[in-house]
Symmetry: C2
Subunit: 328 residues, 2 copies
């Protein structure tokens, strides 16, 4: 901190105030932050730099802790936090507990920082989170003013679309989670947009989109609805591997060969995708949890506001047996 | 508390001391506890009864948070604790972090109580946990002196064995997790013993047991080792559904029909067991998490030591397409 003070030509107390976002003239604050950035000023969480670190605890707020994606995020975040000497409080707020959580904010004064995972936040909810006055990071979504870690959902879905078009498919359908669910609808919308754009770019009619409750059972039900139609698609894109597993189960029961008659592609690379031979767009999930934790540690230790911090981790197509050219 | 005092014929202060396990003559303490039990004395955690509840936080210690079983436990415990107004700190300590965790006990003075899930604890580790001086409950295992919530692993495995014997199988093998893993070996041993007993009770030679790393990949590898032998079994019992999924994957790739040539049975009723048509011995997992949380709440609120509290939740056979009579 002394180095930063010297570099910026201010007192150590001013540096401390500026880094804490306390009362300092804007120009002075700018100068301190610039110096801190130039000197790559970072303190260790164990050191005195963790001025805001009173509870040594970080909250992880997830909507459905038992789903594969969230359980991987939990492991990634918990491991990174523990390595930094911080504990993790887990708040599992599904559909029904959401309102109560935002109304009461039980994490208030209990944590130094929070990671909020894969949620569509209303402006009110965003305001409530900001009112906590602690560093926050979002995982799986992007909202102006919140540091975030995520994948590019549109790009991931477009990758799946281009793979199917490249194989020669011309009639494709997409299986999505329930849009009435207030959690994760933004993710669904982005994947839907990305897939549709890729399909239409190939001069094909936009995909039929079937919405059912998110998950294995919902995916199976959506596939059943598609099979009830006169004109079957030759390929299915599911917004998650779990919905794809449900779709494959319905196809197996219906005696419809995958990929001989219908190809199936998901998103995730779920731990069972390989065993089920599912072609999918893999996303690094533990890594997103760890990156979101590190984004918070950075805020906690050097107090430099990560202006528009938005880390986008790469996805990649993993081709397995569930996708092939359409039947002749 | 006044009712208990009246019933036991002692002062309220004595009741309070007896319930807190503080200095009280043994006979008096016995009388107070008997009265408390007879009156079904329970205080709400929100009330003053939560005398030991200073942090309003409970630790959940799991070995592998991302595995299906543990992610379900997390949800069950977190939900029950949150309903009681308590937060949950999650400690995910796998193979490598285990020693460090028990050496440093980071949860010390951070929580009012702790749930320790599915671990084989050495006498030293048991001693260290007791040294925390807080209510503890075990989930998935039973150790003298610790309240526990679990299933009867031997019975669950014996159920699978009797199902296969009943179908007419005479050559059976079992797939287990790696015994060098210090976590969960007690579970493996109990399931192995239960299955073996059921098989031998039918007058059949004890099953061949193949050990590989716990999980889908390990299950697949174990099946590969079995397929390399001259004399194939007609049925496989896997100690978990995830190991069974791996085995089924290897069988599919090898072109060996399930159940036409080999039947497969697991334990769990994993969320994907239905989609994969796996016959399994279902265990209630979220319920075990919730029951372990309630066992702690009970200790936190009324301070009555749950002498040998050992709640065993029921399991049941779920027959699906992966099991059938052996080929003629």
């Amino acid at each position: 901190m002394a180095d930063v003070a010297r570099h910026a030509g201010v007192s150590i107390a001013t540096v401390s105030r500026a880094l804490r976002d306390a009362a300092v003239a804007p120009a002075t604050r700018e100068r301190v932050l610039r110096s801190a950035r130039e000197l790559e000023y970072v303190t260790s969480p164990a050191g005195s730099g963790l001025s805001s670190g009173r509870t040594k605890t970080v909250a992880l707020v997830v909507p459905f802790a038992a789903r594969w994606f969230f359980s991987e995020v939990i492991v990634g975040a918990e491991t990174a936090l523990r390595e930094a000497g911080l504990d993790m409080l887990l708040y599992n707020i599904g559909r029904t507990d959401r309102e109560r959580f935002f109304a009461t904010l039980p994490l208030r004064r209990r944590v130094d920082a929070a990671i909020v995972v894969a949620s569509s936040l209303t402006p009110d909810q965003q305001h409530q989170l900001r009112s906590l006055g602690i560093p926050l990071s979002l995982l799986g979504s992007r909202i102006e003013g919140f540091p975030s870690v995520r994948i590019d959902d549109e790009h991931a879905a477009a990758t799946a679309g281009r793979h199917l078009v490249g194989l020669g498919h011309r009639r494709v359908a997409m299986i999505c989670g329930d849009p009435s669910n207030p959690v994760g609808t933004a993710t669904t919308a982005r994947r839907r947009a990305g897939f549709t754009t890729a399909i239409e770019a190939a001069g094909i009619c936009g995909p039929e989109v079937v919405e059912e409750e998110w998950g294995i059972t919902g995916g199976g039900r959506a596939m059943g609805r598609i099979l009830g139609q006169a004109d079957l698609p030759t390929a299915i894109f599911a917004e998650s591997d779990e919905m794809a597993f449900g779709a494959m189960h319905t196809l197996r029961r219906a005696g419809i060969g995958v990929p001989d008659r219908i190809s199936v592609v998901g998103v995730d690379d779920h731990e069972l995708a390989m065993a089920l031979e599912l072609t999918t767009v893999a996303q690094p999930v533990k890594e997103q949890g760890a990156a979101a934790a590190r984004a918070l540690l950075h805020q906690l230790t050097d107090s430099i506001p990560p202006s528009n911090y938005d880390r986008v981790l790469p996805t990649r197509l993993v081709v397995r047996r569930s996708s092939a050219p359409p039947p002749p």
